[in-house]
Symmetry: D2
Subunit: 501 residues, 4 copies
Amino acid sequence: MSEILSDSWRYCVGTGRLNLALRADYLESLAMMQKDIGFRYVRGHGLLSDDMGVYRQSVVDSKAHVRYSFTYVDQVFDRFLELGIRPFVELGFMPTALASGPETVFWWKGNITPPRDWGEWAALVSAVVRHLVDRYGIEEVRTWPIEVWNEPNLPQFWKNADQKAYFRLYETSARAVKDVDAQLQVGGPSLSPGADEWWEPFAEFVARRDVPVDFVSRHAYASGPAQHVPFGTYQTLASPQSLLDQFAAPRKYLASTALASLPVHITEFNSSYRPDNAIHDTAYQAAYLAPVLVGGADLVDSYSYWTFCDVFEEENVPTSVFHGGFGLLTHRQIPKPAYHLYTFMARMGSQVLARGDDHLVCEDDNGRVTVLAWQPVGGTDAPDAEDRHSVKLSVPMSGPRAFVRRERVNEHDGNAFAAWRELGRPRSPDTKTFDLLRDCARPVASHQSLSIVDGMVALDLVLARHEVTFVEVLPVHTEEHAGLDDRRLLGVSDDRLVARW
Amino acid sequence: MSEILSDSWRYCVGTGRLNLALRADYLESLAMMQKDIGFRYVRGHGLLSDDMGVYRQSVVDSKAHVRYSFTYVDQVFDRFLELGIRPFVELGFMPTALASGPETVFWWKGNITPPRDWGEWAALVSAVVRHLVDRYGIEEVRTWPIEVWNEPNLPQFWKNADQKAYFRLYETSARAVKDVDAQLQVGGPSLSPGADEWWEPFAEFVARRDVPVDFVSRHAYASGPAQHVPFGTYQTLASPQSLLDQFAAPRKYLASTALASLPVHITEFNSSYRPDNAIHDTAYQAAYLAPVLVGGADLVDSYSYWTFCDVFEEENVPTSVFHGGFGLLTHRQIPKPAYHLYTFMARMGSQVLARGDDHLVCEDDNGRVTVLAWQPVGGTDAPDAEDRHSVKLSVPMSGPRAFVRRERVNEHDGNAFAAWRELGRPRSPDTKTFDLLRDCARPVASHQSLSIVDGMVALDLVLARHEVTFVEVLPVHTEEHAGLDDRRLLGVSDDRLVARW
Amino acid sequence: MSEILSDSWRYCVGTGRLNLALRADYLESLAMMQKDIGFRYVRGHGLLSDDMGVYRQSVVDSKAHVRYSFTYVDQVFDRFLELGIRPFVELGFMPTALASGPETVFWWKGNITPPRDWGEWAALVSAVVRHLVDRYGIEEVRTWPIEVWNEPNLPQFWKNADQKAYFRLYETSARAVKDVDAQLQVGGPSLSPGADEWWEPFAEFVARRDVPVDFVSRHAYASGPAQHVPFGTYQTLASPQSLLDQFAAPRKYLASTALASLPVHITEFNSSYRPDNAIHDTAYQAAYLAPVLVGGADLVDSYSYWTFCDVFEEENVPTSVFHGGFGLLTHRQIPKPAYHLYTFMARMGSQVLARGDDHLVCEDDNGRVTVLAWQPVGGTDAPDAEDRHSVKLSVPMSGPRAFVRRERVNEHDGNAFAAWRELGRPRSPDTKTFDLLRDCARPVASHQSLSIVDGMVALDLVLARHEVTFVEVLPVHTEEHAGLDDRRLLGVSDDRLVARW
Amino acid sequence: MSEILSDSWRYCVGTGRLNLALRADYLESLAMMQKDIGFRYVRGHGLLSDDMGVYRQSVVDSKAHVRYSFTYVDQVFDRFLELGIRPFVELGFMPTALASGPETVFWWKGNITPPRDWGEWAALVSAVVRHLVDRYGIEEVRTWPIEVWNEPNLPQFWKNADQKAYFRLYETSARAVKDVDAQLQVGGPSLSPGADEWWEPFAEFVARRDVPVDFVSRHAYASGPAQHVPFGTYQTLASPQSLLDQFAAPRKYLASTALASLPVHITEFNSSYRPDNAIHDTAYQAAYLAPVLVGGADLVDSYSYWTFCDVFEEENVPTSVFHGGFGLLTHRQIPKPAYHLYTFMARMGSQVLARGDDHLVCEDDNGRVTVLAWQPVGGTDAPDAEDRHSVKLSVPMSGPRAFVRRERVNEHDGNAFAAWRELGRPRSPDTKTFDLLRDCARPVASHQSLSIVDGMVALDLVLARHEVTFVEVLPVHTEEHAGLDDRRLLGVSDDRLVARW
C-alpha cells in the first residue's frame, strides 16, 4: 500500500529582503522557479525596514505626521500572488523612526532594536495586517502564517538577545494580529540553531499569559565557523542527518508542553549559513540535500530553503556570478545543481512506492513511475564519495515494454559551475556567456526502451560523483502502422537496419 | 521650404538613481516609454554609489583587497541597450570606501565628498570606462557622453561647493577617460540653475591646463521655494520662457571663450525641482512644457526631462500613487499628461511646416500632416488660462477629402490625475483601480472627413482648459466598390441613411 | 429583490468551419475575444469534412486501408481548451470517401449526402467520440453538447431535405454516441428558420423508437431575400422581436410532447444570414441585437451568435477588410460595434436591478452598478431612429459621491466601419491603417463625479444615433491627504483653481 | 588564408502551398526556425490558386465583375516580413476562373492548365506585382526573385508538359513583371530532375525573342520510384554526390549560351521527393545532407530545402506526427535531425579554416572556432555505415587552455524519431508526449577544458552511427579570484577535491 508523497518540501522557500522583490532579476527567477517547482509560500526579512517605506513620518513646521504606506508592500505581494506564491509573513525589522536604538544587522542595515513605543508598534502591526486583509480578503490572509521577528536569540538580530524583550514583542504582535481577526495564524520564536534552551521558557510564557500561538518555528544549518578568504568563505559541514536532527528538535523539546501538537516550520535551512560559501554552487550541495528533502516531511510541517535566488545583499552586492550565494538560481537565472534537485522533486509522482538511503520511488495513478536517486555524501567528517555509485531498483509497470528517460546532474552534467570554472571563472559574463552557462546547466538526458518482465522493469543506475539523477518510466501503448517496416528505410529490405536504427 | 524637426527633445531623459534600474516597475515603464516615445539616452545619479557595488573592498586578516565589480552595472546597461536606450554616463557619487568624509545627499545617502585618494579615483574611473569598452565595444561607448559629477556648485551635492576641488575632480576624471580612448566624449560641469558665474572660471581652467572637454552641461528649473505640507510641497512657477532662457545661458556665457562652439546639453529640466509637487501630475504641466519642447532645439543640443518615471527615492519612498513625482509615468505605468505631450511629439512628421505660440505643424514625405496645439500658460504670475482656447490652421493636402484624427489631453480627457481625484485619491489602489486609471489616462480621440479646398484643409481646433491636442491629417485614396450603396443597408433605398450613417 | 443575470448570452458562439481554427488570425481573434468576453462553447461546421482529415483511406495494391486520424482535430480542440472555450460538437458534413453522392454546399464544398454505408458512419461517430474521451477525459467530454448535422430541413444542407433520412442519421449517430458513454449529451435537429413543421415528427420519432435526445436546437435569422451587388448583398430586416419569437418557437411546438422540458439551444442566430451583408459591420447591428441579448435568456438556454470572426469562407475568400462578414471581429482583429455590445455584457454585474426597452441595470456584491443602454431600432419596417435618444435612470449607491465612467459606441464613436468609410474604404489596408482602424474602434470614454442623493445617483444619458452605451458607477471611499489643497497648485492660493481643475 | 563561409545554404527554404502560411502551427514553426537558423527567402506553390482568393469574379445579373484581391496574400507576406524572411515568388498555379481546363495536381487541386485568356493572365501578373510594389515598396520587391511556374516539364504540373505553351507563359509573365519595373528579377524554368534537355531550347527561346531572364532554376532529388505501403512509401536513394551533380547541371548545359553567367537557384532539393517517406525523419537524413549543405555553395547561388515544416498537404492531411514529411520540423515543432544540421550550420563561424569529406571547420574574428563533423553515408548502393566514425582535427587557439562544447545528433541523441518509436509510435500524441518528444529532440551536449599545445587544440571526435556533431572551441581568459581554492570546499584542505571536482 502506498503512502502519499508529502508537499512539505515545497511548502515554503526563503528570499533576500523583501525590497529585493521589486527587482526584475528577482521576479524573473521567481517566475521561472514557480513554473518549474511551484513553492507555496515565500519568507524573507525586512517587511517593516525603511526601504519598504511602511512606517513614514513627514515633519512640517516641527510637527510629525505619521502615515502607513503600502506602495512597495503592495507591489511585492501583488507580484507574489500573480506568480502563484503566498507570503509567509515575517514581522520585522524595526523602522528607524520607531526604533529605540541605532543597532543594525547586515550590509543593508536592518534595525534590530525594540520599539521605542510599544503602543506604536502594536498600531503598526495592526495597520499592516488590516491593510492586507482589506486588499487581499480575509479568506486569503488567513492562509498566510505570520512569524514574529527573526532569530531573537542572537544578539546580531535582536539587541542583547534579550529574551524578556522578545517575549513582550511576541505578545504585543500576536495580540495585535488576533485583534484584526482571530483566525489569522501567528507564531514564533524563529530560533537560530543552538538555542533549544529557549523552547521551555517560550512555552511557559505563552501558556501562562494565554498568548496566541498557532505554530512554532526555528532554523537549521550544518556548517562550522567561517574561514574567510577575499570575497568568500570556506566552512566545515556536519552530515545531512544533523539537519534532520535540528528539524526534530522543536517537537522533542516541546513534547510535554502545551505547544506539543502545534505545526512546526523550519523557516530557514541550508548546508552553510554564509551567502559567500561556494559549496552552494556545487553538485555536492544537491547530493547533500537530497536525503534532507526526502526525509524532512517525517519530522516537520515545512522546511524552507534559504534562499531561492542569489539576489541577496546581506554581505553587500555580490562581485561574481558564482560567489557562493544561497540561491538555487544565480543572478540572471543559471540553475545550480540544487535547483535541479527541487525540479526533480516537483516531477515525482503522487504516491511513494519505496524510499532508501539513496533513492525515492513514486508512482502516479496513470502508471507513470519516477525515481530520484543520489550518491550519499556525509559532510566534512565522512569519507569522500567514490567516483561511481550504483543503485539497482525494480519498479512495477504493465505491458511488454517501458519507455525510460533519465536526467543527470553531477560534477559534469547539468553543472554550470563546472563549466564556469572551465571558462576561466568570469565574474561578470557577457550575455552570450550567460546563455552558454544556462545551456551547460541543463541536465543531461537519455532515453531507452526496456523490457517488462513479470510486471517489473529493472533499473540499473550507475551514478557519477555527487550525482542526483531523475528517472521517468512510462507505460507504452503501441499503435498500429500497417505496412511500416524500418528495414526498408533505404528502399531495400535490410535486416541490419532494424537491429541498429 | 521646410525645416527638419530636430530630435533634441528626445536626445536624453532623466532617471532616478541607477540602482532603481534593477527594478521591474522601472523597466516596464522604460520599455513602454521606448515603444511610445523612443529616447536616445538616459541619465541618472549613483553609478558609483555603494548600492551599485562597483568599488568593493574585502578585508581578510586586516588586509583590504580591492575589487572593481560590475554585477549591477552590467545588469543595468545591458537592459538599457536591450530597450534601445544608451547611458548618458554621470560619474558619481563617491563610494564610501573611497570618500574623504561622511556627508551625503538624499534619503538614499549618496556620498558627496571628494575622494580620499585622487589616484584611486582615477583608477576607478579608468577601470569603469575600460570595462564598458571591453563589454560593449569601443564604437558603441564612444557614442556615450560622460559627465563629471552633478551640480558641484551646490553644497548639497559637492562638499562646500568647492570649485577648486571640482576642477580637480573634472581634470582627473576627464584625463582618466581620455587615457582609455581619446575619442570618448567627456564633459561638465553639470551646473544647477543660478550658477552662471561658474562658466568663466571653468572655461579658463580647462583652457589653461588643456583639459579635455567635449560638451558642457547645466540644468534648468522654474519653481520657487518649497512650501511644505505633509508628504508634499507647493511652489510658485516662473514662465515657460524662463526655462528657455536658462537653456540659452551656457552659449551666452561661453560666447567669447574657447568652449563657445561645444555642444550644450541641458542634462536636467522640469517645471519644479521637487519630487513631491503635484504640478507634475497635471494637464497644466503638459501645456506648460509644450512650448519648451518645441522651442528648446533652437538653443541647445539636448534637454533631458527629469525624470521619466516615478520610481525615484530622493525624498524617500513615495506614499501615494499620485504624489507629485517627476515621472512621466507613475508607479505601475499610468501615463500623466506630460507623457502624452512626449508621445505626441514622437508622432509628429519629419519636416516643420509652421510654428507658433500655440502650435507646431509638420509633414511627412507621404503627405501626412500632423499638428501639435496647446493652450499657452504662463506660470504663477501670468493670468489664469481661459476655459477655451481656439487654434485655426490651414494645412496642405492633395485630393478631394482628408481623414482627420484628433487626440486630446486636458483637465478631463486623458487625465488619470483628474479621475484619481474623483475616485477619492486612493494612495495605494488595487489592481482593478490601476487598470481603471490607465483607461482614464488614454487621450480622448475623434475622427472625421474634411473637404480639401484649393489644396488646403481648414482645421478649427477649440481646446479645453490646459489642453494639449494632437491632430493627424491623412490623404484619402478612395477604392472602388462597384454596387455599394449605403442607402440600401436596410434593404430598401433610403436617402436618410446615406446622409446620416 | 434582484435576479441573477443569466449567462445564456455567452453560452455559445459560432465559427467558420473547423479547419479555419488552424489559422493564426482566427486564433488571435479567439484569444482576444475570450479575454474580453469569455464564451463557454464554440460551434462550427465541418468536423468530419475532408479538410479535417478524419476519415482517411490509403489504397495500396487496390486495397483500401481505413484510418481515423486526428492530427487536425486535436490541434483545434487542444487550442480551444487552452483558450478556455469548449467545443459544441456538430457531427457533419460527410467525408467524401463515405458519401453516397457528390452534392456539396458552400465554396469549400462540404458534402451534404447521407453515408453510403450506415454502419461505417456509426463506426466513424463512435471512433471520433471515443478518441475525444481518451484524449480529454470522460468528465470533460460529458460537458460537450453533440449536435447531429446542420439544418437538414434545407436541401442545400441535406440532400433533398429528406426528413426520413435525417431521422435515420439522427438515430444512428445518437446511439453511437451513447454507446461510448450514456452520459454524453446528444441532440438535434438543428433546424433552420421556417421549419417548425419538423418539431412534431421529430418528437414523435424519437419517442416512438426511444432514441436518445438530451437537447433540441434550431437557428434564428431576421433578414429577407438577398439583393445581390458585386461582392455583397442587401436585405430587409424584420424587428429584433422576430428573433426572440424564433427563440420561443421550439418550446411552443414541443409543449405537449415528451421533449417539452429539454434544454433548447439556438445554435445560430444573427440579423442577416448572409456573410456579405454590410449591416453586420454597423452600429445599427449592435443597437439591433442589444434587446435580443438581454431578452433571450427568458426563452432559451443559449443563443449562439453566428459568428465570432470574419475568418469565414462559405462564400469564398473575402475581398475587403469590411465586407459584411458575420464576425464580431474583422480579419486582423478590428472590433465591430457588436463586439463591444458583447464586451459590455461581459462587464455587467451579477444581479439584475432593472430591465427595460432601452436598458439593463445590474449590480455586484461590492456595490458597483453597471448600465447597458441602447437606442431601440426596429428593422426595415420600423420608423428610422432619431438622432438622439434619452435614457434617464436612478441607481442605488452609498456614500456622498459616486465615480461614473461611460463608454459609447455609435455611428461615430467606437466605430471602425465609419472611419474606414472616411478613409476611402481601402480593401486591404496596410499595417499602419489596420492600427489606425483598431484605434478608431475603441469606444469613446468619459468620467465624472456625481452626487448621491438619498442613496441614489441620477443618470441622464443622451445616446447618439444607433448608440449602445455602457456605464459603470462606483462607490467612492475618500482617503485622507492632510494639507493637500489644489488651490495651491501654482504656489499661491487661488480659488479659481479648485473650482475648475 | 581563409575563405568566407557562403550563405547560399540558407538563401532559401521551401514551404507547403502559401495558403498554409495562414496557419498558426506553420507560423510558430517559421518563427522558431528564423530564430534558430535564419533563412533569407521562402518559396512555395499556390500564390494564384483559388484558396488564396486573388483572382475573383462576382456574377450579378449574369455579369461577371473581376476583382484582384489580396486579403490573404497580404496576411502571408506581412507575416513573412515580420519574421525576417522574404518571398521567393512563384507565379502559379492557375485560378480556376482563368483556367483553360479542369486538370489539377495534388490533393489540394492546383489547376495546371494554361490560361484561357493570355491577356488576362498578363493583367493578373501585372496586378499582383504592382500591388506588392505599392504595399512593400519598390526597393524591397526588387530583392524578391520571381519564378515562372513549377516543373513545367512534368505533365502533372503543366498540361501535357507542353514546352511551347510554357515558353509563352514565361514570356508573357516576364514581360508583365518587367513592365511594372525593369529592375524586378524574373526567372525560370523551374525544371524537375531529368529534364536537362529543356535548357538549350529555353536559352535559345529567350535569346531569340529577347525575353527578360535574371536567373535560372531547377530542382534536385535523389530517390527512386515510390514503393507504397499504407500511408507511406519507401524508396531507394542515390548518393549525396548525385544531388551535387544535379546542382551543377544548369551551369554545364548553359555554358555556351547567353544565360551562362546568370545566377542558378536550386529552388527545391531533398533526398526523397515524397512527403510520406520516413527517411526524412531520421538521423540518416542529417548525415546524408551534411556534405550537400557544405558543398553546394561551390556550384550554385542557392539550394532550397523542400520544405521547412510538415504543415504540408500535397498527399492529403498527414495521419501521424511522424509520417515521413519533408519538414525540418513536425507539426507542433518537434525538430528532426536535419533541423539540427541547419542550426549547426547557422552557428558556424564566418571563415572557413578547413573542409573535408566528414568535416567543416570555421572561425570567427574573436578567435572562436567551430566544427561540423558527420559520418559519411552513401545512399542505398553504398556499404552501410559503421557503428562508429572517428574524426581527428587540430584547430588553432591562443592561450593555455580552451573551453570545448559539443552537441550530438545521431540514432539516439537529439533524435525524437527514435524516442517516438520507443514510445510505441503514437500517431496523435497528447500535449505531454509532445513536450517529451521535444525534450528528446534536443542534441546531447557535453563540455570540457582542453590544453592548447603550440597554439593548437587537438579534437578527437568519435561519432556514433549516422551522427552529425557540432563543436565550439572558445578561448579562455582566466579571471583572478584571490584566495579561492577548490580544495577547501569542505572546510579542510583536501587534494582529492581539486583533482576530481
